[in-house]
């Protein structure tokens, strides 16, 4: 009984992690950008959902369709304006740039919206499905289902549209793709935009679940990287499976070992994956890593 509930909880939080990591796996996977501002985009989406609900009464499940594109535009702008130039120079430059952006975004949010903790209430924020003694939080369930749906959509995009195939091509064989007439920078901008839209979806869905405050992104950033590496860079299925695995590992070790140690467990797991199988579950063998190959 307890075990069943733990597994359910693990899967649900795993869904949250998957949702947050979808965008990152594209960005990190395709462009090898260690995107430290990822968590802060999540935070922005959460705030936008909060304000849309508070000021205009929109349900997050509706404002989703406005906020995701907004985040996409933001991502495209940031990539085109800042990261594109950084990425050309070196790895270190792109890391520095995303860290700088993260500091800027967090503190602008702090100055604009203060450090108060905001909470978004919807009709079913607190509602729970009960099923034979097991309890499933509805907002979490919705987030989980949407994560699956979005993964499927993006998967279709990547495999059945020209742009999508071009992105996949550029991810695995950069020069060959360029030779085939693919403009890498336009592609990367699109990719960053999609990744940002995905994290935007994540933020909106998480707003009814978590408190919203300027540094909330930090809560999810490291986990997202763990999930992405576990699942395999660039693999959407990997992000979903990786998220579920980490969610389960976290919840089970929290119960059977200690809540204070749960992060330790998945960090050690993370190190083990990096050392023994950096390509993760679904990723291709990582030959060289770098924007410049």
């Amino acid at each position: 009984m307890v075990l069943a509930q733990l597994i359910i909880s693990g899967i649900l939080i795993g869904g949250v992690y998957a949702l947050v990591s979808l965008g990152l796996t594209l960005i990190f996977g395709v462009m090898r950008i260690v995107n430290f501002v990822h968590g802060d985009f999540l935070m922005l989406a959460m705030y936008l959902a909060f304000w849309a609900a508070t000021l205009a009464g929109w349900s997050p499940y509706a404002s989703l369709f406005v906020i995701a594109p907004l985040l996409a535009l933001l991502g495209a702008g940031i990539y085109w304006g800042v990261l594109r130039l950084a990425v050309r120079k070196s790895h270190e430059a792109s890391i520095l740039a995303t860290i700088g952006l993260s500091i800027i975004v967090q503190n602008v949010a702090l100055m604009a919206w203060s450090a108060d903790y905001r909470s978004l209430h919807t009709d079913f924020t607190g509602s729970v499905l009960e099923w034979g003694g097991l309890r499933i939080s509805v907002p979490l369930l919705i987030a989980f289902l949407v994560a699956l749906a979005v993964t499927a959509l993006v998967f279709l995009f990547l495999h059945f549209t020209y742009a999508g195939k071009a992105i996949r091509a550029a991810a695995s064989e950069r020069y060959a793709a360029a030779l085939m007439g693919v403009n890498p920078q336009r592609l990367f901008t699109l990719c960053f935009a999609i990744g940002s839209a995905l994290v935007g979806v994540g933020g909106v869905l998480l707003a009814p679940i978590y408190s919203v405050y300027p540094t909330v992104g930090e809560q999810f950033l490291l986990v997202a990287f763990v999930v992405v590496v576990l699942g395999g860079l660039g693999s959407l299925q990997g992000a979903v499976v990786g998220g579920l695995v980490i969610g389960l590992v976290e919840t089970l070790s929290s119960y059977f070992i200690a809540p204070s140690m749960k992060q330790l467990v998945y960090l050690l797991l993370f190190i083990a994956i990096l050392v023994f199988k950096p390509s993760g579950l679904f990723g291709k063998r990582v030959e060289g890593v770098g924007v410049d190959e």
């Binding site: 733990l6 450090a115 903790y117 924020t125 607190g126 408190s211 809560q219 089970l252 119960y255 204070s260």
Partner: protein, 420 residues
Amino acid sequence: MNKKRWISGIGLALAAALAVSGCGSGSGSGGGAQSVKVGVAFPVSGPYAKIGQACTNGTEIAADIVNDAHVGPKIELVKVDVPNATSGVNEVNRLISQQRVKVIVGTYVSPISMAVSDVAERNKAIQWEVAATEPRLTGRGYQYVLRPNPNAYMYGPASVDFVSLVVAPKLGLKADQVKLALVYEDGDYGQAVAKSIKEAAQKAGIPVVADISYNAKTTNDMSSIILQLKQSGADVLDLVQYDADAQLFWKQAKQMGLNVKAVIGHGAGHNSDNFGEVFGKDADGVLNVSSAMGINKNALLPETQKIDEEFQKRYKEKFGKEPDLIAKMAFSSAYVLFKEVIPKAGGDDPAKIREAALALDLPQGYCPTGWGIKFDPSGQNTRATVAVMQWQQGKLVTVFPEKFQVTQPIMIPLPKWSER
């Protein structure tokens, strides 16, 4: 060779620039008898910003009230941001040497206060604490650190007394039959208060059936904790949590149907106005051990009742919202400094301030939080009382001890979630 010249040049230029700007800035003396500069050092950016801002606000109102009453020299506040220990040290050094500040109110975050107190002590400047609970702050024999607020060791006994004297009887149990579970964030605050609770529980013979700590920053899901609690069969749940985790926990407690007979928070997240706003009716019944909020007016001295009202009024006017408990604590602490100590010391001479502070003998009920003031030689206020409050109808009201009580505690035992 060019590089060396560069470096030498820069080094010389830097030294020159610093020397020159040093002469330029840095206002004159700390103010004569007419005005006194007081440093205000709280974290207003970074992870502690929300509470730091509330503390700054509370301190400001205290200065406003005292200045308008023309009690002593005018209090001029010099505000700085100290988001971490390094900035704390930098800024306090700056206040002392550039701004000639000799009294500093701050910092509420224990590690930052520890670092700042060292600078203050070495330079014989006063650090006037408002909320940090680290016992060692006043446990090192320092002469220049004064703490009007309670320290962590005071929380445990107050909380456990409440359980023995009020909760147990209402549950029809003897104290040593009450099963206590403890859930706390693993930062300095959580660990210190939890330690205090555990020691007090042991003394009272109350069994602790669960001792669960977690990292507030990285905990996105509390279901496993809640399941553990369910398994433990606890009657009373003691919590030490910050805002975000307190809210997540309570949300999930409802979702997962965690039913315990009493829930007792200890400051921080459960003090916060956000808690009441977010949960509305669902917050009702939650108890909170901390300095008193919503205290029985009769427990306060008549003069203090008026000051408390003025504080509420001015705070709302200036900042557009009601003050929360932490703002009230900061106000109470700063008010004592501005109203009672600085005028008696005749200025900001640290030795005189310490003397004046140690000489204070103000009864309980002097501060809006219910504290009296009587410092022991270590700098800790021995009359820093900790009370038990409860969320009732979206507000925190004091329910224990009797002389502070506004109303009786309700909902002990707490109704099950399904029956709310």
